[in-house]
Amino acid sequence: MVDVLYFAWVRERIGLPKEQVETSAATVMELVAELKAREERYAVAFSDISALRVAVDQELTEFDAPIGEAREIAFFPPMTGG
């Protein structure tokens, strides 16, 4: 089980900020593939990976990163702070 978090328009498209996901995905990309297969709203939110960023256990990383023992994976658009 891993906590999956969504922020900004990713949160809005998927329709929730956080969920627990049962997964055996080895990488973030595999998790994305599992989520896209679930429902249309996930497929839409993850349709263009290049428009997204991912953090594993609160550290920015790449989509080919391993999930390992991670407890929290977050998806969001590029940051626009400052």
Binding site: L5, F7, A8, W9, R11, A55, Q58, E59, L60, E72, A74, F76, P77, P78, M79, T80, G81, G82
Partner: protein
């Protein structure tokens, strides 16, 4: 470092920051304000990722400490609902010498903009829109490659 929804007073923060340092010769501050682009902004909503925000900012500040000779560094970033003219965030750096204070403040801004987990949404009469990141913001980071 402060991450908060409450407003803050940039002038008071600047004065407190300037007087706290030992042997400081130069203080640079940056304040980011909510712009009312088309005279129609109702509010700006800033979302963030609480569990990640402080550690992301801390890592950026740490990097600035390693690169320049600083006396002190300050980051304040608001989240929640803001209006045109409100102060979104503030960065301040102090050093013996002005070049270090300028470079570090500039660096902190570039990294906070693209690497700290904040997202801005603009609410206008026409509707709501998430602010899109700019290619220029991402490109700005390459200035600091070494």
């Amino acid at each position: 470092m402060k991450v908060q929804s409450a407003p803050f007073d940039p002038g008071a923060e600047l004065n407190a920051f300037s007087s706290s340092g030992q042997n400081v010769g130069a203080v640079v501050s940056f304040t980011g304000l909510v712009r009312d682009v088309d005279d129609s902004l109702k509010e700006m909503i800033i979302e963030h990722y609480p569990a990640m925000t402080e550690r992301a900012i801390a890592a950026i500040v740490e990097e600035a400490w390693e690169r320049w000779s600083l006396s002190d560094a300050l980051v304040i970033h608001r989240h929640g609902v803001l209006r045109a003219g409100d102060t979104i965030m503030m960065v301040a750096t102090s050093s013996k010498h002005r070049a270090d204070a300028f470079a570090a403040a500039d660096f902190l801004m570039d990294y906070l903009k693209s690497r700290a987990p904040f997202w801005k949404k603009e609410v206008t009469a026409k509707g709501e829109d998430w602010v899109e990141s700019k290619t220029a913001d991402e490109d700005a980071l390459s200035r600091w490659d070494r």
